[in-house]
Amino acid sequence: MSKFQTSIHEYLETLPLQTFNRLYQKPATCLAIFRLLPPLGKQIIMSSLYVDAPIPVADMKLWFKESTGLAKHKEAMQRLKALNIFADERGNYTMNATFLEQFRNALTGGGNSLSFGLATSTPDKHHVDIAFLDDYATKQWEAILHFMVGTTEGRPPCKGVLNLLGRSGLMTGGPDTPQSDSMDARDFANQMARQDFGVPKITHKGFQFLLQDINTQVWAFLLQYLNMAESLNMDLVEVLTFFFQLGSLELGNDYSSETLTPTQTHLLEDLKAYGIVYQRKRGSRRFYPTRLATTLTSGTPVLLGSHTNPTKLAATAAARKAEEEEEDDHGFIVLETNYRIYAYTDSPLQIAVLNLFVHLRDRFPNMVTGVITRDSIRRALSKGITAEQIITYLTAHAHAQMRKNSPILPLTVVDQIRLWEIEKNRLRPVASWLYSQFNRQQDFESTFEYASELGVVLWSNQKRRMLCVSTEGHQAVGAYVRKLITKHREQQGQQAQQHQQHQHQQQHVTSVAS
């Protein structure tokens, strides 16, 4: 979750002020961005939303407790400033006027922006229910994942998806799809992308991608899409606005596509391929958001199928949730303290993902068993998967029985996986300068003393008169050594010129015990 949040944040923070001002014109976007903020950032906005005067910096500091809150305050303000929600003007914090107005509109339902999706006025003749939408979204999305792990199940995803997979570096290569007759920018990009690829093959990044929860995966896709949109001359603001709008729609309702701009209509076509929206046929006037869409901006990883609809009655929602969890195949992993793993699944996708870091042993019709070993973890680590990703994956897919434990996963296993990772990082490369071949011990010693006063010594050996200095310290220490040399020269005249002081520049590898 944090990963997706930071990634969308990082993306947003690169945008210029003008883009923000245009983005904030839609209440739905304001609300979605608001939800991505840290809790105290939200509180700062809410506290100052109905304060009309600018707030002095010192005053806002008083809101927070000195001991614990100030660090959080600083962190939150940094985010808010990066997103151009707040600006610092002559010791006062002022809120972005567009954001202020539209966010108030979002809360009170004012304005006339139609940003929360226009519902269709007539009932759909071919109405589909939530179960159908879930099924559709799961099918579409898993088809992509299946394709990535190379299982033959499901039909191969369409061209746009393949292109995106290649572009994002999740897979290398693209199949030779027949040339389409309409040659728009997208096809051109597709063609370009295809040229240097052979057979499609999953990359290390792709493996990492598979371990993420669905929400993160969807966002990774959409961010890649945003990057591509720029090169395809699509209006970034319209694309982002549409993404955020999707997050505010209600599952199981149909929305009219009439208010969409041409760019957004185009976008709809692409999102259909990912399973984020459903449209009965191309050019239909209505579309249904699926669960992938409605949980986009929720900020929490929501597993497909175990989401409660907040507008539903609490009682029925609870009952429904329990029902859904039973049929939900996402909590299927049982991990024991003896490193054994039992996964109740027959999906080749899940098994392929598990196979990344588990030594699988037996396969039964409805489950596989395996054991986590040092080798299996190291194999995964060498593919660029981190321990954290493995642990998150196991936690997210823990069996309902496991969820009753606190913490969910056995601590021994979690710690061991982390230790195996740390084990791998025993060596740490640091760029440095090596000083060697001091002719006199006292030269070495004075240089060493000088360098350690500066605190730049990384490693030294008294006997061999060798000294390793960090790059920041090189200039000062180098100057010192040169001064020593000239002093000697003056003292000894032309006597002995054998005082050679060599400086070697090399990438020195300091070993650091973990």
């Binding site: 407790k65 009170t108 929720s298 710690d415």
Partner: protein, 324 residues
């Protein structure tokens, strides 16, 4: 190694979804009083914006609204008894409003309109009790209990906010105290916003005991800002923020016999019931007191009824009978 473990532990203290139960005092006798600084329909606008702000915070934030009316207390949202499928068709979707907000706002507004349309309660009832705060608190606590039980992960952080205008009704003392102690035991903070008027003694104690926030805004017309600033932060944010506290808490209790608020009274040594005057048999637990207290009239203490007598074991006086 230690860092590994602490990082695991820290995960448990993340901010979670919040369940906010709002109890709105809809006592028309107070709201429509000519001297009221804020009318109900205007205050409702503020409260609705506040509800939306709460729901905007996280997508999984939950809300329940209870109206504490004269002689009745009713769920406004979620409406438990009425079937919603019918109403779902009726609500026209508005593309300018976030659907979640709209559902809640509509439910609250129609609920209150319905309450106010009901035939006005007679004056006798008004004399009996101002509004059913205790009943609403019980409803809220039951709702929270149910919500916590159905949430297997135990991640929902509940709290109660009472928005009140009515004065204390001393007849409600015992039920309110029971609610407070239940809330304290279940770790549910009760926030109280006394929109105007005198301090509400019992609710002030409620906030104090459950570590909630009690506030009486200086200007009721700025209600929304007060709500946003002081009552919106969830339990996670509160650990980082300076929030209004109470300098002085009025710990007075109401006697069990005449429901009068007393400074000093008689306390049963067995069941700790409070009485304003001495009675030889405790009306709650039927304990018989086989002695005569040193009556204040004998000691010429005047108005200070029931002053303590160090020599006698009972009746003991207590200024803080509620301290448990």
């Amino acid at each position: 190694m230690t860092s590994v473990i602490t990082s695991v532990c820290l995960l448990n203290y993340k901010d979670d979804s919040n369940l906010l139960v709002i109890v709105i005092d809809t006592n028309p006798f107070e709201w429509e009083h000519p001297s009221a600084p804020l009318k109900l329909n205007l205050a409702l606008k503020h409260i609705l914006a506040f509800m939306n702000a709460h729901l905007a915070g996280r997508h999984d934030n939950r809300l329940a609204v209870i109206a504490s009316h004269v002689g009745a207390s009713k769920f406004l949202y979620p409406t438990l008894n009425e079937p919603t499928p019918g109403s779902k068709v009726q609500t026209k979707k508005d593309a300018n409003v976030y659907q979640v907000f709209k559902v809640v706002n509509d439910a609250v507004l129609t609920g209150i309109a319905k309450l106010l349309q009901d035939p006005r309660p007679t004056l006798e009832e008004k004399d009996l009790g101002s509004s059913k705060i205790a009943a609403s608190l019980s409803l809220g606590l039951c709702y929270i209990n149910q919500a916590l039980k159905s949430d297997g992960m135990g991640h929902v952080k509940p709290r109660i906010l009472v928005l009140t205008v009515s004065p204390d009704s001393s007849s409600d003392y015992i039920p309110i105290m029971n609610c407070i102690f239940s809330a304290q035991k279940a770790n549910i903070p009760i926030d109280v916003c006394k929109i105007w008027g005198e301090d509400a003694v019992f609710l002030q104690q409620a906030a104090h005991i459950t570590e909630g926030i009690y506030m009486r805004p200086d200007d009721p017309r700025g209600l929304l800002q007060t709500l946003m600033f002081s009552f919106l932060p969830d339990m996670f944010s509160r650990s980082y923020l300076h929030l209004p506290g109470q300098d002085e808490v009025d710990f007075r209790a109401a006697c069990f016999c005449h429901k009068r608020i007393v400074d000093i009274g008689f306390v049963c040594s067995v069941c700790l019931s409070i009485f304003c005057s001495f009675s030889p048999v405790c009306s709650t637990c039927r304990t018989k007191f086989a002695f005569q207290p040193l009556l204040p009239s004998a000691r010429r203490l005047g108005a200070k009824a029931g002053a303590s007598n160090p020599g006698s074991p009972r009746p003991s006086s207590s200024s803080t009978p509620s301290a448990s």
